[in-house]
């Protein structure tokens, strides 16, 4: 059958250099755009003089904020119902903010002309430290919003605070820890960009853009620009990595569209790496204080968290409307805890907007990091082995479906089995013995454990929408007369291999080879509506839609096969990929035979129109809850603070694996992300708001040298709500791995009495932690 290891269909073009990314799109008469950006984090715009740029012989248009204001396009809605400047009119609010857009005959000339634009700024004090954003004397960033007198975005809480407080009041042991999940950027190797082509004759706008959510983009363009939605076509071609950073609409996209409308020619805009790191969606930036109440023998009873969330200058996070802190309230994690409470306060600062990106599953990265660090803090307090402490508190298999203290219903799992498997694979007891030997010799070796539960596949339409658009996804399946099929889905691959996996799903359901199924995606004119790919939702939502639409086709095929066999549909059974009369496999009819009959002159029963094609919309009844147990082994050089990841063992349970090869690849990538975030990726700001991680020379990403050879294990607990038992996996390892790395480093530093240190654990940071003088990793080194 079609599930199982299978080489990817998409590889054939990529290994030949024949992918088609946005920057590869070339249209006749195409012009090139470039954006002038603010050098200041906070400044009033006194004047913008573009006359010299307009006089440049190769320049065809210069668009500034005032131009857009005249068109009603200077501001656009964000995915969190805030507004964001497309091009600044009044003030600039973060370094790198968009100020002007030049359209020229070639990309180099467009860049040249940026130098000719004269902007006069009046610098203002900037709010850089999130912890000072609500100070009474803090400058007000969003004075564009009527009546706004502070930098407060929202307060939000979840769980039962009173019950948690009561348990804390009577607890035998409590621990508390401040920790920062620093701002990071997903940094896909392909930056963001767009090619916009507005056809004045037909009134049709076509936008090529590496978006993870093409349909959401189309609807938003219709809402923002007032263009009729049927006259907008969004094409998301091959995407060079997304990781959540390519969900939202960026000002450059709107500028490219306006540029095409103004000039009447196609306009391409591609940002450079610094623009990507400075202005597009960051992730995390959560300042957290966690507390655990426990018994002396290590039974966790309650957990509380307070969060200060830095949302940057515009509240642009992408997440279901009801949840301004995303799914952070899954922070009770994988443990059976009586009470939990979190309170999150969002603030504006003079930094780029965003917040939900980088494979975070709507803030579950922050939640898992918080609880997994807190469990280790508790283990240190109790003098207990961290793996043993986890085993003592993990939700037990018989408790599923498990209702969490903040209202989630975990679908299925056997957590202790996964952790024990990881411990076996790692040789946990031997590692601890080795660590003891090394410690005796003064060497710093650390073993870090983390356990995560994810909640992915958003989501049930009743509870989850983005800007009022319910998070259900469509699928259409056509079966041609010869039995070859075309599946059209709303989600969009950025490397996850949908063209292969989704073909396998259909192949499995229809009894045809996956090679006989073409998957169409990433083009709003060619695919049904749906909200796209992020939050590990493709397999849980669109994968389910693909299975269900296939089953609809299969049921139609049953009626046609019954007509072919002059039998009643009730007398047929589906076996070995054929419909046959029960007990008579020789009568079996394959999908190809049935498809041909469905298109032929066969007399069809009443109510069957012919053909086998079907459509569906899948509205998930619940999220799916993948989980896993990770163990990381590090060695730390006490002289330099250099951390070397020696081993990383990852046991993942994502339910049924459709293509295990692809699943393992997803996990490998996420583990590397974890090492990068935990050890390398510094995105700090100085007091003026200068971005200190604005190139790959400063914002360091893991190479093959920092990554160990990953050691994977698996357990399989099918999801009871998903039609084929699959759960999502794309973000599991990114969610689960940072805590394992940090726990390992902190474990290595235990001889120094260290109980916590903030990411990223760069050599400088570790060295200072060893010396009892850690620094804040979100600010420039003091």
């Amino acid at each position: 059958m079609s599930h199982g290891r299978m080489h990817r269909k998409e590889d054939a073009r990529f290994i030949r250099g024949r992918g088609n990314y946005t920057d590869d799109v070339r249209l006749p008469g195409m012009l090139y755009g470039a954006i002038l950006r603010s050098p200041y984090a906070h400044a009033r715009i006194v004047s913008v003089d573009a006359s010299a740029a307009e006089a440049h012989p190769k320049v065809r248009a210069v668009i500034i904020g005032q131009t857009l204001a005249g068109l009603g396009l200077a501001w656009m809605p964000t995915l969190s119902r805030d507004t964001q400047a497309v091009l600044a009119t009044d003030k600039v609010r973060f370094q790198g903010q968009e100020v002007a857009f030049v359209v020229a005959e070639d990309a180099y000339s467009a860049r040249d002309a940026l130098e000719l634009i004269d902007v006069e700024y009046e610098p203002l004090d900037a709010v850089i430290d999130a912890r000072k954003a609500l100070d009474p004397d803090a400058p007000v960033i969003r004075d564009d919003l009527e009546g706004r007198t502070d930098n407060h975005v929202f307060d939000w809480e979840a769980g039962d605070g009173e019950r948690a407080d009561a348990l804390f009041a009577q607890a035998e042991v409590t621990v508390a820890q401040d920790m920062l999940y620093p701002r990071v950027h997903p940094a896909p190797l392909e930056t963001c960009g767009a090619v916009a082509d507005f056809d004045k004759v037909t009134g049709k706008l076509t936008v090529w853009c590496p978006t993870q959510a093409p349909h959401a983009h189309r609807t938003l363009y219709a809402m923002v620009a007032g263009l009729p939605e049927h006259k907008i076509r969004v094409i998301s071609p091959d995407i060079g990595g997304g990781f959540g950073g390519k969900v939202g609409i960026y000002p450059g996209y709107v500028c490219a569209i306006v540029g095409s409308i103004v000039t009447g020619r196609p306009v391409k805009w591609m940002e450079d790496r610094s623009e990507n790191l400075m202005s597009t969606s960051f992730a995390r930036d959560y300042h957290m204080r966690g507390e655990i109440a426990a018994t002396r023998d290590g039974r966790i009873r309650a957990i509380r968290v307070k969060v200060l969330a830095d949302h940057g200058a515009f509240n642009g996070t992408a997440q279901p409307t009801k949840f301004p802190a995303g799914f952070f309230h899954v922070f009770s994690g994988s443990y059976d805890i009586e009470a939990a409470h979190c309170a999150v306060t969002g603030v504006y600062t003079n930094k780029a907007p965003g917040g939900v990106a980088y494979a975070c599953s709507f803030r579950i990265t922050e939640a898992v990091y918080l609880v997994e660090r807190m469990v280790d803090v508790l283990a240190a307090e109790l003098g207990m082995d961290p793996a043993e402490l986890r085993l003592r508190n993990l939700i037990r298999p018989e408790q599923f479906p498990y209702r969490s203290p903040t209202g989630w219903e975990y679908d299925s799992g056997d957590y202790p089995r996964a952790l024990r498997l990881a411990m076996d694979l790692a040789g946990y007891d031997k590692l601890r013995a080795e660590q003891a030997d090394r410690r005796a010799r003064g060497e710093l070796m650390g073993i870090g454990v983390s356990f995560f539960t994810e909640a992915v596949g958003a989501g049930p339409r009743k509870h989850m929408d983005i800007l009022g658009l319910g998070m259900a996804d469509g699928a259409e399946l056509r079966v041609h007369p010869t039995g070859k099929a075309v599946l059209r889905v709303s989600c969009q691959t950025q490397g996850q291999g949908h063209e292969t996996t989704f073909a396998q799903i259909v192949g499995q359901e229809l009894g045809i080879p996956a090679d006989d199924v073409e998957v169409v995606h990433g083009d709003t004119d060619q695919t049904p509506f749906g909200l796209g790919t992020y939050g590990s939702r493709s397999t849980p939502v669109s994968g389910a839609a693909a299975a269900i639409v296939s089953r609809k086709v299969r049921e139609r095929a049953r009626i046609v096969a019954a007509a072919m066999l002059e039998a009643s549909p009730d007398d047929l059974e589906w076996a070995d990929g054929r419909w046959a009369v029960v007990g008579d496999p020789a009568t079996g009819r394959s999908m190809a035979e049935i498809a041909l009959a469905a298109h032929s002159d066969l007399e069809l029963p009443e109510g069957v129109e012919g053909h086998l094609d079907a459509v569906t919309v899948y509205n998930p009844p619940n999220l799916t809850y993948p989980f896993g147990a990770y163990i990381c082994v590090v060695d730390v050089d006490p002289g330099t603070g250099q951390v070397k990841v020696r081993r990383f063992v990852a046991v993942d349970d994502c339910g049924v694996r459709i293509n295990p090869m692809i699943v393992e690849g997803q996990i490998h990538g996420g583990l590397a992300d974890g090492i990068g975030m935990a050890l390398m990726q510094v995105m700090a700001f100085d007091e003026d708001g200068n971005h200190l991680g604005a190139s790959f020379m400063d914002y360091l990403l893991p190479t093959a040298m920092e990554c160990p050879s990953w050691e994977l294990g698996e357990t399989v607990t099918p999801s009871p709500t998903h039609p084929i038992g699959a759960k999502g996996v794309g973000e599991s390892a990114t969610v689960g791995s940072p805590a394992a790395v940090v726990n390992a480093v902190v474990d290595a530093l235990a001889p120094y009495g260290v109980r916590h240190a903030d990411m990223p654990l760069t050599p400088a940071n570790v060295w200072r932690v060893i010396n009892g003088n850690p620094f804040r990793t979100d600010l420039a080194i003091p």
Binding site: R8, F14, G17, D24, I662
Partner: protein, 157 residues
């Protein structure tokens, strides 16, 4: 300036601005979009091509510096309809996901195997350490190159 660059065995003569980067020459002048652009600072390596057989980052080579030289891009790896062993290896071992770093990785892998036919894991990791991949965690890239080395070793016997 007038330059003649041999790309994948074909000479191309063009008038170019002295500041034109090789990556843009390949992509925009010759339409060879298999070579990607990613960072401007020689860190990511998605623009890697071979210049006279040696991997270089074409975002930090001027097109005029390639005048009179031989450039090999990903489009030049397949010969007479036969994929190079490194291309096959990446498919066999799932050495790519989004595909953006792949062309550069393939050209570095090809050079490695030309100079070290049977590299161990450490040699492979060092060879690709100047190039980033955000998808694979490198594991399957290492395996892909090992696969290619084994396949070529087998063919030589």
């Amino acid at each position: 300036m007038r330059i003649t660059v041999s790309v994948n065995g074909q000479p191309h003569t063009r008038d170019v601005e002295p500041r034109l980067l090789l990556v843009h020459f390949l992509r925009d002048e010759l339409g060879l979009t298999g070579t990607h652009w990613g960072c401007d600072t020689s860190n990511c390596g998605v623009c890697t091509v071979q210049l006279d057989g040696v991997p270089v980052k074409s975002c930090t080579v001027l097109a005029v510096m390639a005048d009179g030289h031989e450039v090999t891009t990903v489009e030049g790896l397949e010969r007479d309809g036969e994929l190079d062993a490194v291309q096959k290896g990446f498919v066999e071992c799932h050495g790519l996901q989004c595909g953006f770093c792949t062309p550069g990785m393939l050209l570095t892998a090809r050079r490695l195997l030309d100079t070290v036919p049977d590299p161990d894991e450490g040699q492979i990791r060092e060879a690709i350490s100047g190039q980033l991949c955000r998808c694979t965690g490198y594991e399957n890239i290492v395996r892909s190159i090992r696969w290619a080395a084994a396949a070529e070793g087998e063919a030589r016997r």
